[in-house]
Symmetry: C2
């Protein structure tokens, strides 16, 4: 914040009580995160900053804070807005009223579809939004050379962003092998963003972790165990505790959340779908859940507010204190994190605030991104020379997959899935009209007894992924997405049963958040009819192609052994 | 740190153990400040950064760390180098081997004598030094309009520094009344340095504190009581716990030093003289003392290392961790903070390191700063119309003075001190050849029974201050300083007994640190002969003219009532 002269005069006068505060919250219990005290008093807000706390103030406008608690705005340390299936303008209508006043986003989903145009769309949106959406620059587009993406970001692209946006960070550096093997292009990106590189290093430890950190990476949101997190913490890595829709680490990492550790922790949602945001909540859910499970509320709120502010060098937020940005969440219950009202930059968050935003950047350039001819069932036939087969084993509510080896039904030429053993076919179809690749494999854990489900969301290249136990239903599901321009689809017993259209880049809906939530609820019911018991079938499907997460994945080029970072024959 | 490509390749290789570390500390107990664990292992250093910790490494050079502890380099959050009576090059020879690898200094002592030339001298020195001396830009030169300084820094001067040095902060903003009354020049300075303004606000509280903070001030090193510190802490102000030579707040603020509070605390020395640095130590003393008094070592080392790094946005230091700057202190005793060896930027601190520095900037322009004609005893006569007199009451080891009112010996025309009641005369003589002002008053607490002591160090304008019970000895002491070009002097029974010359700006010695320490020890003995029992007589004298600290002070223009920020008749 660089207040001009007049603003300084006004804030000093209002803090002194010489003039009325622009907005005063009266008689509220302020949670002072620096001392841990809960003290009743007034908060005087002058423009976008806090003028005074604790003393008695009169305001031009006054809010009665009786019975309420004031905490600083929450900060999501790492989120892919696209996983909420709505564009940034609609995203903030969904999370800002839940107290998220700042979020560090990585637009790499849309960037894999549309490159710099996607980054620029996010940047343009952020400029006109109410919440502070900090757009980090995607580091790995495409995530790996093992897949075909819609677009790529070059070192030159990144150099431009690094110099034009000196405070933007490099978003999750997933290419760990690239760092460790000193791939020149990776090192060039690292050199551009020294001091502001976000990490992604599941299961990395020992000397390899040292090397990754020594290269300048500052945090990780991929800790799946306490031991992993503790090693990273000791080595100075900020731990971003993630509670996504699939990858949920909050319960596992809960013992980390102490006042002693709090400065070195943040919360993040990474990939959180509309059902979970609408049902459980966003960061408010993480706060509520952590406290309910026994974590110290001081530690929890520091992790949600103060620690990420300091970790990312935002010195104007994270406390309710004079001079700080007036990002304030009013709660009716502190431990339950029940959000009653939110102030962003000193303004009450409501429909009028959203209505007063500048015009949303036109997203129409991201339409028609599914450029693929319709397919026939034959493309899903898997010819082979042996029954022994590597099978991707999914784990519910985890991004990690297992590398299984199984004998599958085999007639000497062609292999089949085995629904009775919960083994389905999986395919990834290149969808940008570049090469027509189709990667084929098998997956265990979807529980399909009939039909197929397909998605144009397929991290991170977002080719079309389909899982099924019927080649013809697989073709129907895929063709439905080609027609809708992307989204989720279900086919069963020879019919397309349901489609949730995501026509923007094959990732984002044109509907509002509440509608998308309803559509998603409906299509989940449709999926259940196939026998699949998963809570988040499309997210589990969408993460199958991500070859930066152990152990076995599938891309449009084939099945990938992540440990070897290479293809494996099916 | 912006490593080039080759450096990144090297650090990755060394971290992986593929190549030998440039320097490896073997088998050392590493104090991991993020987790609080003490774990044995190796530290591999590549160039100026840490490549790996915890694992086993081989090095081109190896240091046996057996029996030693490794902690990050200490950070002094606020120091006036000039109070150590030596220039920056000599200062680091004194404090860097004690573990202080980074210090935020305010060169406002020399700046009051020589203006921007002083700031530039510090900046030029810092560029060639081994330790990281962060030169903040002095905010209040002169400190107040109530005195005559040798030079002043204009808003235009500050604008130039603010734009040329985007990471430099505005040094302690002492002009609290100027902020609260919105003096345009003060607000202009504040506007230039938003987000990086260091504070100085003794006893400020309530709405006035809110206003000061709302203007953008981030910290305070002037907390004299726990209650004061707790209010400031709750209001988001970083508390810099100070242990100077006169102002010593460590014992008072010790209960603040907990793991919960640690992120919001720093240590600083502010004004620490060679006797205390040589005798007790520097930040190492604060660490040792705090732990000895019962503070949690984890909290203490965080306050000494990590918290100031984050407070000032230095994300490359404060932990012993891969990717961090290799500022490492090796201790033979963790709780006693016994420094065995120091690494700065990966290099062992020793005489060879200092010898390899670039040439020290030439300080000769600061010679001959005492431009004052010799004085006669008559200038110290105090004519008056009543016996009732405001008297400055000093408190040992505190900067605060009391505003006393006493009846003094009075013959109807002229007043005298009263040595038997410990009341001496005090005078401040403008020494820059500008106006010949002499401010006269009385002070209680020096314990002088004969003679006079004088100093050209007189915060912050550094006019000549003299305290005495004999007008002729006062003249002798002052004239001795005019001859020596500044320093400290003692006259007793009609003779100049001792002089400690400080010819650079009247503030700094040309001798090395050890010699200055000896000279100071000697002159303290000389002072004792006058009856003065104070431990730091010259520091107590030197702070008498500082009208930004309560309650009664004296400048070359007269006695100042700080509460009214105006002169009071003597």
């Amino acid at each position: 914040m660089k207040p001009r002269f007049k603003e300084l005069e006004a804030v000093i006068d209002q803090a002194l009580g010489n003039t009325k505060g622009t907005l005063v919250i009266k008689n509220i219990s302020i949670f002072h995160l620096a001392t841990g005290e809960l003290r009743k008093g007034d908060i005087a807000v002058c423009g976008d900053r806090i003028a005074g706390v604790g003393e008695s103030y009169d305001g031009e406008t006054e809010i009665d804070g009786s019975g309420l608690f004031a905490v600083p705005g929450f900060i999501d340390a790492h989120v892919h807005v696209e996983s909420s299936m709505i564009p940034p303008f609609e995203f903030e209508r969904c999370v800002l009223p839940r107290g998220v006043t700042t979020a560090f986003c990585d637009p790499h989903e849309l960037a894999n579809v549309a490159g710099t145009r996607a980054i620029d769309f996010f940047l343009d949106s952020a400029k006109r939004m109410c919440m502070d959406l900090r757009v980090q620059i995607s580091s790995c587009v495409p995530a790996t050379p093992l897949e075909t993406s819609g677009a790529s970001l070059s070192v030159a692209d990144l150099r431009r962003y690094a110099s034009e946006m000196p405070s933007a960070g490099l978003a999750e550096l997933m290419n760990v092998p690239g760092v460790l093997s000193k791939v020149p292009e990776v090192l060039e990106k690292i050199a551009l963003f020294q001091g502001r590189i976000d990490g992604h290093s599941p299961m990395l430890s020992g000397k390899a972790l040292n090397a990754y950190l020594a290269a300048g990476v500052r945090n990780c949101h991929e800790c799946g165990s306490l031991a992993e997190a503790r090693e990273k913490l000791a080595k100075g890595m900020q731990i971003l505790i993630r509670e996504g829709s699939v990858a949920r680490n909050l319960d596992t990492l809960l013992p980390l959340i102490t006042v002693a550790n709090a400065p070195f922790l943040c919360f993040c949602t990474d990939d959180r779908n509309p059902l979970d945001i609408g049902g459980q909540g966003h960061l408010d859910y993480m706060i509520r859940h952590a406290i309910a499970k026994g974590a110290d509320p001081l530690a929890v709120y520091r992790v949600a507010c103060w620690s990420p502010a300091r970790h990312f060098g935002l010195f104007d937020r994270g406390l309710i204190a004079p001079g700080y940005r007036a990002d304030i969440v009013l709660l009716s219950d502190l431990e339950n994190c029940s959000v009653a009202k939110v102030l962003k930059n000193g303004r009450v968050v409501d429909d009028a605030l959203f209505a007063a935003r500048g015009e949303e950047p036109d997203p129409s350039e991201f339409l028609h991104s599914v450029r693929l001819a319709k397919v026939s069932p034959e493309v899903f036939r898997i010819r082979s020379s042996s029954a022994e087969t590597p099978v991707i084993g999914i784990r519910e509510l985890s991004l990690i997959t297992d590398h299984l080896t199984m004998n599958l039904p085999f007639d000497g030429k062609e292999k089949q899935g085995a629904p009775e053993r919960d083994i389905a076919k999986v395919a990834v179809l290149e969808r940008y009209g570049k090469n027509g690749n189709i990667g084929l494999g098998f997956v265990k854990g979807f529980g399909l007894r009939s039909g197929a489900i397909a998605s144009s969301v397929g991290h991170d290249s977002h080719n079309i992924c389909v899982v099924g136990v019927s080649d013809s239903d697989m073709a129907l599901a895929v063709n439905a997405l080609i027609e809708s321009g992307g989204g989720f689809s279900v086919a069963n017993n020879g019919k397309v049963v349901d489609v949730l259209p995501l026509p923007l880049g094959g990732l984002l809906s044109l509907h509002d958040f509440a509608t998308v939530e309803q559509e998603l609820r409906r299509i989940h019911v449709s999926v259940k009819a196939t026998g699949c018991p998963l809570e988040t079938p499309f997210l589990q499907l969408a993460f199958l192609p991500l070859p930066v997460i152990p152990h076995l994945r599938i891309t449009d080029r084939g099945v990938v052994d992540v440990a070897k970072f290479d293809f494996i024959g099916v």
